[in-house]
């Protein structure tokens, strides 16, 4: 009888011919997530097992952050032997309502699921005078999972993870991370679909503080466990913002800045082979997030810009931010790039043509080259 952690996955089952590839990917990602711990990971049919460990809760915390993992259980592993299973069930202490849930994947097991569940329930009742069966709404469920590999897993709890798809091997995405609430959540959402990402942050020193930068680095470190980032790029937009502010129509300031951000991201995509840019925009949240504003921004993008939060309400975004532990950092009061040089009346429906006219008032190419040349690269810890 061994103590194990049982890991289930769901979407991978639908992958047909690619199932093997995704299972391998998930296995590798789990191995990476459990690197700090001494343990063994084993692949059994449709399940992964962790065994020979001591730090159970810490391992489960890390497993929950691995996309592709559907659920996790702390289980006891027994041989597929009727008497052995019954013996173990007779030792369980249950003082409330319960039911037994038997899953017989091993069709050679001699007793059918329902019959065996009833039999095991009887054993529990015999040994626990306060226990009572409730099939519909039990306080405790005793799960008995009889697998094809000759092993049975008994557990009482199913801990749900984020599901989704395992992070890919390549860092294909470039996440534009501000100091706000939305962008870390956007990175998380895309990572849930298997998109591994690096991070690009814009600052405006000396108009923003080193604390603001430190805050974003902390955010980056927090989401790295989800998005698998290895590098963070920090790009100072100060010179560009000053030029826009002095020489261009104030109403277009935010739009021009966002177009410049996408251009900087384009350059990094080209240099480091990122295939997509991810932003935390949500339709209509602020002036720069109207369809017209997004169109003006998209017009300069050389790769698809993914906006996973486009239909999210703020409270939905906040709920995820709290769940992934970025919220408390995001709400620290240091200003980030976007709040400096904020126009009194930003344009809500910018036109691409007008944005281009404004950009022609400054030497955009030269300024962009200069800010790109000075990008600071930070290596994030694995």
């Amino acid at each position: 009888m061994n103590k194990v952690i049982l890991i289930r996955f769901n979407e991978i089952h639908l992958k047909g011919g690619n199932k093997k590839y995704f299972t391998k990917l998930l296995y590798n990602n789990i191995k990476h997530a459990l690197k700090p711990f001494e343990c063994k990971i084993e692949n059994i049919q449709n399940r992964l097992l962790v065994r020979d460990y001591t730090e159970e809760d810490e391992i489960i915390t890390n497993l929950k952050a691995v996309f592709g993992v559907h659920s996790i259980s702390k289980a006891l592993e027994l041989d597929n032997d009727v008497e052995l299973i019954k013996d173990h069930i007779s030792t369980l202490k249950i003082n409330n309502t319960f039911k037994c849930d038997v899953n017989r994947a091993d069709k050679s097991f001699p007793i059918k699921s329902n019959e065996f569940a009833a039999e095991l329930g009887g054993i529990i009742l015999k040994h626990n005078p306060n226990a009572k069966v409730d099939i519909h709404n039990p306080e405790t469920v005793v799960y008995v999972d009889i697998r094809e590999n000759g092993k049975t897993f008994v557990f009482k709890e199913i801990i749900y993870a984020y599901s989704g798809l395992p992070l890919g091997e390549n860092r294909d995405g470039l996440l534009l991370l501000s100091g706000g609430i939305d962008s870390p959540v956007a990175g998380f959402c895309m990572a849930k679909r298997g998109l591994r990402q690096d991070i690009l942050h814009f600052d405006s020193f000396p108009y923003t503080s080193p604390q603001a930068k430190e805050k974003v680095i902390n955010l980056a470190k927090t989401i790295t466990k989800f998005i698998g980032a290895k590098f963070m790029y920090i790009c100072s937009m100060t010179k560009l913002q000053e030029e826009f502010h002095i020489k261009c129509n104030e109403e277009y300031a935010i739009n021009l800045l966002r177009r410049s951000m996408i251009r900087v991201a384009n350059a990094l995509c080209e240099k480091y082979k990122y295939k997509t840019i991810i932003t935390g925009e949500s339709l209509g949240q602020v002036a720069s997030q109207t369809i017209e504003s997004l169109t003006a921004t998209n017009a300069v993008a050389n790769v698809p810009v993914l906006r996973p939060l486009i239909s999210f309400n703020k409270d939905e975004i906040i709920a995820i931010a709290k769940d992934i532990d970025t919220y408390e950092t995001s709400i620290l009061p240091y200003e980030d790039c976007c709040t400096v040089f904020l126009p009194r009346n930003p344009i809500i429906k910018p036109k691409v043509k007008n944005a281009e006219i404004e950009e022609n008032k400054i030497n955009l190419e030269e300024l962009l080259n200069s800010v790109i040349e000075n990008i600071e690269v930070i290596k994030l810890d694995d």
């Binding site: 000396p206 503080s209 000053e242 502010h245 002095i246 009061p333 040089f341």
Partner: protein, 374 residues
């Protein structure tokens, strides 16, 4: 090394560099690692070191007989301890100035939220308490008054001796507390003249170590113990004493010389240009100058000056996390509040340095305005 010696440091009201003598005292006292509460003879040496430090500081402050001083972990702890000890009844009134340090202000605010009768009295244009308004608040329910000695934001001097006299004349049972963190070493503190019931001090503002503060208590038998345990610090604040920090604190007090910074202040004022309000007027101490520039962001100016080798402040560091300057928001208009700069001098700053920083500050403000002008 986080501090570059080439930088000129103008933020001494925030904290100071530990002096060599204080550091030496710290290291030397670390050798005497024995727990002062132990009974073997080497431990008695530890006890003696603490008592010597206590006596020295009390003597320096010209403390009243039968009074005491307890060592704490910080001035914030000292201030919290006083409020938590004194604010006990909902039928009594507790008076504070709007210019109190956040260690007092936030604690008082918490009690106000809990339903206690907490009154904040207004401050004058330089940050000092409006004494007239304070006296108007006195009635038979008043149990406690707390006024900061020297404003950490503006350097404004509050005449604590006079305030205590007037308050005690009204009712001698009213407890008067003062936070003297910025006063230590800047003005001559004479506890007999001040006649306060309690007073807060900190070591790191006078070239001593961080993590050590003190609380003077005039009548220890009336003070409620606030940390229970092994009965240290006369039973008022339990916890094994931080002997190295206490000895380093003593050394820092021993080395205190009240320095005249009037020429420093004048050098700043003579070389400053631009549209600004000088909050720290003549009634403020000379080592802290608070200036508010119109239409600029103090934080940006701070970063611009840093790039030129000057470390300046934008107001109390204890406020910077809160995102706005609470004290100055009562004094200056909205046009100026974002442009607050605080310069505070220490031992190493010369009059010539002050001239240089004022010139650079004026240049930075001009440059800022040019950069963002429309």
């Amino acid at each position: 090394m986080c501090y570059n010696n080439i930088m000129l440091y103008f933020d001494n009201a925030s904290t100071t560099k530990m002096s060599k003598a204080s550091l030496e005292a710290y290291v030397q006292a670390s050798e005497c690692f024995f727990n002062p509460s132990s009974l073997y003879s080497p431990a008695t040496k530890s006890k003696v070191l603490i008592e010597e430090a206590r006596d020295h500081i009390l003597k320096y402050l010209k403390a009243k007989p039968k009074s005491t001083l307890i060592f704490t972990g910080s001035a914030t702890e000292s201030n919290n301890a006083v409020l938590n000890s004194c604010i006990t009844r909902k039928d009594k009134k507790y008076i504070f100035s709007l210019g109190e340090h956040s260690a007092i202000y936030e604690t008082a605010k918490k009690y106000k939220e809990l339903g206690y009768n907490i009154v904040f009295v207004p401050i004058n244009s330089n940050g000092s308490v409006n004494i007239e308004a304070l006296m108007k608040e006195l009635d038979e329910t008043v149990a406690f008054v707390s006024i900061i000695y020297i404003s950490n934001e503006t350097g404004a001097f509050n005449d604590i001796a006079e305030i205590t006299r007037q308050v005690k004349d009204y009712n001698k049972n009213i407890i008067v507390h003062t936070d003297a963190v910025q006063a230590l070493g800047k003005v001559d503190i004479n506890l007999k003249e001040l006649n306060v019931d309690s007073l807060t001090l900190s070591a790191h503002k006078i070239n001593g170590p961080k993590g050590i503060g003190a609380l003077y208590i005039a009548e220890p038998n009336k003070f409620k113990p606030y940390m229970l345990g092994g009965g240290q610090e006369m039973g008022l604040r339990a916890g094994t004493e931080n002997i190295p920090a206490i000895c380093a604190f003593k050394q820092a007090v021993q080395d205190l010389r009240i320095k005249d910074y009037s020429k420093h202040k004048q050098a700043i004022l003579d070389n400053l240009s631009g549209d600004y309000i000088l909050v720290s007027n003549r009634e403020c101490v000379d080592n802290i100058i608070s200036i508010c520039f119109k239409g600029v962001r103090g934080e940006t100016i701070e970063h611009m000056l840093e790039a030129k080798g000057y470390l300046i402040g934008t107001g109390s560091a204890c406020n910077s996390k809160a995102g706005h300057n609470r004290v100055l928001s009562h004094i200056v208009s909205r046009d100026y509040i974002e442009g607050v700069i605080r310069l505070s001098f220490g031992e190493e700053i010369t009059v010539e340095d002050c001239k240089k920083v004022a010139i650079e500050l004026s240049k930075a403000v001009k440059e800022y305005r040019e950069r963002i002008k429309k």
